[in-house]
């Protein structure tokens, strides 16, 4: 079948709040919901029901049951898009249950969350014994993560993972946990913590970003977030996962496959911590220089050595090298290409490609999408081409095509190739034996393998090649990065 992503589960949106306070039914005052009534609140994507399964003096439980209408969910969000079916599709994923629940909470318990209760004003400011239960909470990172986020707030946390499918035991656990929190807290705090932390634990991609999102977080986090040991992670996850509504055509292709979207653009695993981005030499002197920085410096030095002032970065990624070249007045013409549109959009932003007069006195000639397996006249006409950490992302059978495109067709005077030295991998803690440094690496070469390849390519296309180690040259396993400087 054709693969795509369906709406995240829409049943499990149940939250119960129980108190064993003396006069437990006072919970009704605090929540502004009468314990003997069943109330409905229409939401944009379903109905929130509030009722009390228990309501006596010793124990009172309020239940918030969100009955999500999956069809309304996809339909209502289609407004304003050029095509109805597009609207259905584009919006079929983003609504994680936790976000819907958080949204419903803020609608239904708005006053309670502000800590206002005219009938029981003191009680509203008093910590009371509470039990909060969520039968199916999407929880990225598993029970431990729930513990980590809730325990510092004074909760006694029970988080039990939900198995994916009991009949397929080998599939293991789902991303859901059955969560039960017990503790003595102010009700308003408890509600606000849910409001912030449920979506954060879900860590799904939410799209209903409002401009006042930061204000909301500050308001909801009042009194507890600032002191939370994980406030950084919480804030980042709360805000960072909100992306634009329009998903690229690329995303649609990713969905057509079974691969999770992340796989299309795996996060670059830096061998060492990266320096501060774009900072004007903010790296403290005592901090070791990262390998990425070593590599940039080595490439720039080699370009200087070869007196190559007009340079194209083949596989420029997010444009780090381009930005570096731009800072160096030696380089008179700078271009970059990459196959990843997402990476390029970062590069464009980095180089301010689209805002007005081009940076660097017009020295940036072009930054464009291209693939090294296709001959392309736009690659030609430079003194040097750089393939920095590129070849290892190419399937071995396609390397021949790349060689012909770069050394045969574009054929600049200088070609610089850097690639990991596989022998050095034993020096990386946490890298399993035989594993590669990046999930998208199709191979990693030993020094001998790189040499053999480089010598053959150089001979076939009339180049000479010299080899330069990059990074700390380990006497036993060599430098972490190997660089070949081809000249003709």
């Amino acid at each position: 079948m054709r693969h795509f992503n369906i709406v995240r589960h829409t049943w499990g949106v149940l939250l119960t709040i129980t108190t064993t306070l003396d006069q437990a039914t006072d919970l009704g005052f605090l929540l502004h919901k009468h314990p003997d009534r069943v109330q409905r609140f229409e939401q944009s994507h379903g109905t929130a029901h509030v009722f009390y399964p228990d309501a006596d003096e010793r124990r009172c439980t309020a239940a918030l049951l969100l009955d999500v209408d999956p069809i309304e969910l996809v339909r209502t969000r289609g407004r304003g898009t050029p095509d109805f079916s597009l609207g259905q599709y584009v919006n079929d994923r983003p609504y994680a249950a936790s976000s819907l629940l958080a949204s419903a909470m803020s609608n239904v318990f708005r006053t309670a969350m502000r800590g206002r209760c005219d009938a029981r004003p003191e009680l509203a400011q008093t910590p009371i014994p509470l039990e909060i239960a969520l039968p199916a909470l999407p929880c990225k990172g598993g029970p431990g993560q729930a513990e980590r986020f809730f325990a510092p707030l004074g909760w006694d946390v029970s988080a039990v993972p939900v198995p994916l499918d009991p009949e397929f035991g080998e599939w293991g656990d789902s991303r859901y946990v059955t969560l039960k929190l017990t503790g003595t807290l102010r009700l308003a705090d408890a509600l606000n913590q849910m409001y912030v932390l449920l979506p954060v634990l879900d860590d799904a991609k939410h799209y209903w970003m409002a401009p006042d999102e930061v204000d909301k977080l500050i308001r909801a986090g009042e009194g507890w977030l600032a002191a939370h040991p994980d406030r950084g992670a919480i804030t980042r996850r709360y805000l960072a996962n909100r992306r634009g509504l329009v998903r690229s055509a690329l995303g649609r292709l990713a969905d057509a496959e079974d691969a999770p979207e992340e796989e299309l653009d795996p996060v670059q695993v830096e061998e060492e911590p990266a320096p501060v981005e774009d900072g004007e030499d903010q790296t403290p002197k005592d901090q070791p220089v990262s390998l990425a920085e070593h590599r940039l410096q080595a490439v720039v030095r080699a370009l200087h050595d070869e007196n190559a002032q007009r340079v194209i970065d083949l596989g420029c990624g997010t444009g780090k090298l381009l930005a570096r070249l731009l800072k160096d007045g030696f380089f008179t013409e700078i271009s970059g290409t990459d196959v990843s549109h997402r990476a390029l959009s970062h590069a464009w932003r980095r180089l301010h490609w689209d805002d007005g007069p081009r940076r660097g006195d017009g020295r940036v000639r072009d930054v464009f999408q291209g693939a090294l397996t296709y001959a392309d006249d736009r690659f030609a006409g430079y003194e040097a081409a750089v393939l920095m950490e590129v070849v290892e992302h190419i399937d071995p059978p396609r390397l021949g095509a790349v060689e012909r495109v770069v050394f045969g067709h574009a054929a600049p005077r200088v070609v610089i190739v850097t690639t990991p030295n596989a022998e050095h991998n034993v020096r990386y803690e946490g890298l399993a034996p035989g594993a590669m440094r990046h999930p998208d690496h199709r191979f990693e070469w030993t020094r001998a393998e790189f040499r053999a390849w480089a010598d053959r390519v150089a001979a076939a296309h009339g180049y000479r090649v010299r080899h330069v180690p990059v990074g700390d040259d380990d006497p036993e396993v060599g430098a972490p990065t190997q660089m070949g400087v081809f000249t003709r």
Binding site: H9, H49, Q88, Y89, F168, E257, A371, Y374, R404
Partner: protein, 851 residues
């Protein structure tokens, strides 16, 4: 009456003072679009045709237009005074850049007449000295004209100008009217005996003179031989070869283009100083033994040979060393040089021979280019071009290409007649029409707005943003383009069913075809797995020869977006082994006369490929429901015990629990454990293509079902699964009832549903969907969600719109068929890739993926 001969393609420069009547002349002899006038250009750039200050820009524009027209091979007439030698030079440069002929036509009228004409056009406001000055310039430049132009005509006086007629002349190389069939013959180099052998093999009857010498050859089937040149030098009997070929050309049985050896022999025979070598010494010796008559005739023949022919309405070009597309049908020194010597880089190799630029690797032209010049062991197709010089004189063989059949015919050399300077280049494999990567694909093959020309639908457009998305996926994740010969098109569902509990039902699918005038359809069981295309070669040799895969792989199995189905290459190899065995046991290699097949099918189980998706989406949803709904029911029950009025909420949640459990069952049905290949199934449903044949196009779906069935029967490894099917007579209610019952049974048992495809001839004028899917209600739970069957949900879902999906299915189908047709016809890899790439690009168009 003066007859002015003008090339059909070329530049005509009118020359004459203001008022000499050039515009009138141009109007009366040429189409308005053929004439580019300086006055008009001046008007375009300044809104005033007489604004002399705008002349600079006006001529820039004029030159630009002339260049564009000449590039496109259009006759272009320049209407400007052109009295100055310098202004003509600029035009001649443009003509030369585009390798076309130029003709000048001078309109010479008395000053008084010109002045008179200008007087009636007061807007010109011409100072009196202008015309005399122009005339002086014209006079002065006259002698340059002969030097500047291959041909120029001077028409003196109004009468002669009025009486002149234009006659169009075809270029010498333009033989587009000759449609063949042809036998193109490679470099002969004096190997007369081998030539006679080859002509006989090709079915020519050789005509001999009194001494028994071959002096002609005629094909009873009316075929024409075309010689690629290099008839002479090195071999034992260059005069004998010439005698035969001259006879054939003279009798209209053959065409011949010049080779570089003819050109050099002509110079040598004319007594020019040439370096004697490369076998020229042999010819000179042999010519010395001939009589003057022969020598004179042969010299005239060789000197008169032109450098290339354009044949068969432009579909075939023959030139000795090949010819790039920009030069087809053009005439200039560099075109001739290219045709005779090839595109040399100016460097020489270790043997002292010129290094040739591999122009054929970049060739993207429509015409087939056939040539010789560079000896190679086997004739090999490179992007719709082929070199036929298989080194007969070096002991190789003499080769001919039958056109349009694209068959190669060769005879072995009788001996080594001449030792080669360097060994013949290593065999690069391959017979006719290999789908191989002769060099690299070009970005222009896939990006840009040109779209893809298809046999079924004409031009299918590809939007740039979609092509860009596809570029990333293609270059990062897809299998090698040599294997990626096809991507399966998407398929639209039948119109939405009004029946309770159904979104899709056979009735609509059958009606859709019935309404279009189709009488029979085949209904095929739809397997729920992952689409997989298998390219299977009989052995590694076929893979190397036909697909240019040197690494010992024998095929590929890939997904609908072109990714390898299995991460582990050895798993792919195992699946291919089993498929290969089944194909062999079914006797299909011989029956279909092919060493490779492309098969479309479904790989099962779904969980084999989609496990990540099942875990993160489907099973996860089921897990959440299992955890949450019982608790929801429980709190509702307690609330109900308290006497609260829940208004149907309990029942509603109860139904959702039932639906959730059905949902779980729906996906679980398509999951089972695969261990190695155990448990893996491949259900083929179409044999897409084999050597020389797009079976998708050549056979109907009953044939495909029958062959797929034979594969399943022949398979002993438990891999190949049968696809059940039924044919339906659309005129018969019983037949429809039977298939409906079949579908209901199939889907009740958890089947995904069926696909309905038309049988019999398709009407030309209406668009027919290549297939319509008709999915079962429980399967659709996976697609539309657990609760989609609730009546209020179903009503809303019925409003789904199918237009885009249908359009997409048609376009992708046309592209898929195009890729297969190009593959089967042995077209160059970039042509196949272009169509395949376009399918992937269209897949990134926004369409409701649930359809």
């Amino acid at each position: 009456m003066t007859e002015i001969r003008v090339p059909e393609m070329g530049l005509v420069v009118l020359v004459g003072v203001t008022g000499s009547g050039k515009s009138h002349f141009a109007r009366s002899h040429f189409k308005p679009t053929q004439v580019v006038s300086s006055d008009h250009c001046r008007g375009v750039v300044s809104d005033d045709e007489n604004d002399q200050s705008a002349s600079g820009d006006a001529f820039d524009l004029l030159h630009y237009i002339v260049g564009k027209r000449l590039r496109r091979g259009l006759l272009t007439v320049v209407d400007a005074t052109n009295v100055q030698s310098r202004s003509r030079e600029a035009l001649l440069r443009i003509a030369k850049e585009h390798d076309v002929m130029s003709v000048a036509i001078v309109l010479d009228v008395p000053e008084s007449l010109a002045a008179e004409r200008n007087a009636v056009r007061p807007e010109r406001n011409l100072p009196p000295h202008v015309i005399p000055r122009q005339r002086r310039e014209l006079r002065r430049g006259m002698r340059d004209l002969a030097r500047q132009f291959r041909r120029h005509h001077v028409l003196t006086g109004a009468d002669e100008i009025d009486a002149a007629t234009i006659v169009y002349e075809k270029a010498w190389n333009d033989k587009r009217e000759l449609t063949g069939p042809f036998d193109v013959i490679g470099d002969v180099h004096g190997c007369r005996a081998e030539l006679e052998d080859l002509l006989t093999r090709l079915g020519y009857e050789i005509e001999r003179d009194a001494q028994g010498r071959a002096v002609g050859a005629d094909h009873p089937g009316g075929r024409t031989a075309v010689f690629v040149g290099d008839l002479v030098d090195r071999g034992p009997d260059s005069p004998g070869v010439l005698r035969l070929v001259m006879g054939m050309v003279g009798a209209g049985d053959a065409l011949c283009v010049s080779g570089n050896h003819e050109a050099k022999l002509v110079r040598a025979l004319r007594g020019r100083k040439v370096r004697v070598g490369h076998g020229l010494e042999k010819s000179l010796e042999q010519f010395a033994a001939e009589d003057d008559d022969f020598r004179g005739g042969a010299l005239n023949f060789m000197a008169g040979l032109i450098s290339h022919y354009v044949l068969d309405d432009g579909r075939l070009v023959v030139a000795h060393a090949g010819l790039k597309e920009e030069y087809h049908g053009r005439a200039s020194g560099r075109v001739r040089s290219f045709a005779l010597y090839g595109d040399t880089t100016g460097e020489t190799d270790e043997y002292g021979l010129p290094v040739r630029y591999p122009w054929a690797r970049d060739y993207r032209g429509k015409a087939m280019v056939v040539y010789g010049h560079t000896p190679i062991p086997e004739a090999e197709w490179v992007n719709n071009t082929i070199c036929l010089d298989t080194g007969a004189v070096f002991g190789g063989k003499l080769t001919a290409l039958r056109y349009p059949e694209r068959e190669l015919v060769s005879v072995p050399a009788r001996q080594v007649w001449y030792e080669p300077t360097r060994p013949l280049e290593a065999p690069a494999a391959s017979s006719a029409g290999a789908h191989r990567e002769n060099d690299v694909l070009n970005i222009g093959d896939v990006l840009g707005e040109q779209g893809v020309e298809t046999r079924l639908m004409g031009r299918v457009a590809v939007r740039e943003e979609n092509a860009r998305a596809a570029l990333e996926v293609m270059s990062r994740f897809a299998v090698d383009p040599r294997w990626l010969v096809y991507l399966p098109p998407t398929m639209a569902p039948a119109a939405t069913s009004p029946l309770p509990g159904h979104l899709e039902h056979p009735a609509e699918a059958l009606a859709a075809y019935r309404d279009k005038g189709i009488t029979r359809v085949v209904c095929e069981e739809k397997h729920m797995g992952s689409r997989a295309v298998a390219v299977v070669c009989r052995d590694a040799a076929v893979a190397a020869e036909r697909f240019g895969m040197p690494d010992g792989t024998t095929g590929a199995v890939y997904t609908r977006t072109g990714r390898s189905f299995f991460r582990d290459p050895s798993r792919t190899a195992e699946v291919l082994d089993r498929l290969r065995a089944a194909i062999g046991a079914a006797g299909l290699w011989d029956e279909l006369d092919t060493g490779w097949l492309v098969i479309d099918g479904e790989l099962l189980p779904w969980s084999a490929k989609a496990m990540d998706l099942i875990r993160t989406q489907y099973a996860a949803a089921g897990a959440a429901a299992r955890a949450a709904l019982p608790m929801a029911s429980e709190v509702l029950a307690r609330a109900s015990e308290r006497g609260l009025d829940l208004g149907g909420l309990r029942e509603h949640i109860g139904r959702r629990a039932v639906n959730a459990s059905l949902f779980r069952d729906a996906y679980a049905r398509y999951c089972w454990t695969v261990d190695g290949l155990t448990g893996l199934r491949f259900a083929p449903f179409q044999i897409l293509a084999g050597e020389g044949r797009s079976w998708a196009d050549a056979r109907d779906h009953e044939w495909h079902m029958a062959v797929a069935g034979r594969l399943a029967e022949s398979d002993t490894s438990d891999l190949v699964q049968r696809t059940e099917f039924m044919t339906v007579d659309l005129g018969s209610p019983q037949s429809e009832a039977a298939v409906t019952e079949w579908w209901e049974k199939l889907t009740a048992a958890g089947g995904e549903g069926m696909v309905v495809k038309p049988l019999g001839p398709l009407p030309d004028e209406v668009k027919i969907q290549p297939g319509l899917k008709c999915r079962g209600p429980e399967y659709l739970r996976i697609i539309y969600g657990p609760d989609y069957t609730e009546p209020e949900n179903l009503d809303r879902l019925r409003r789904r719109s199918l237009g885009r999906k249908r359009s997409l299915a048609m376009r992708e189908h046309a592209l898929g068929a195009e890729a297969l047709a190009r593959l089967a016809a042995g077209e160059p890899m970039w042509r196949v890739h272009q169509a395949v790439f376009a399918v992937l690009a269209l897949e990134s168009e926004p369409v409701d993926p649930r359809l």
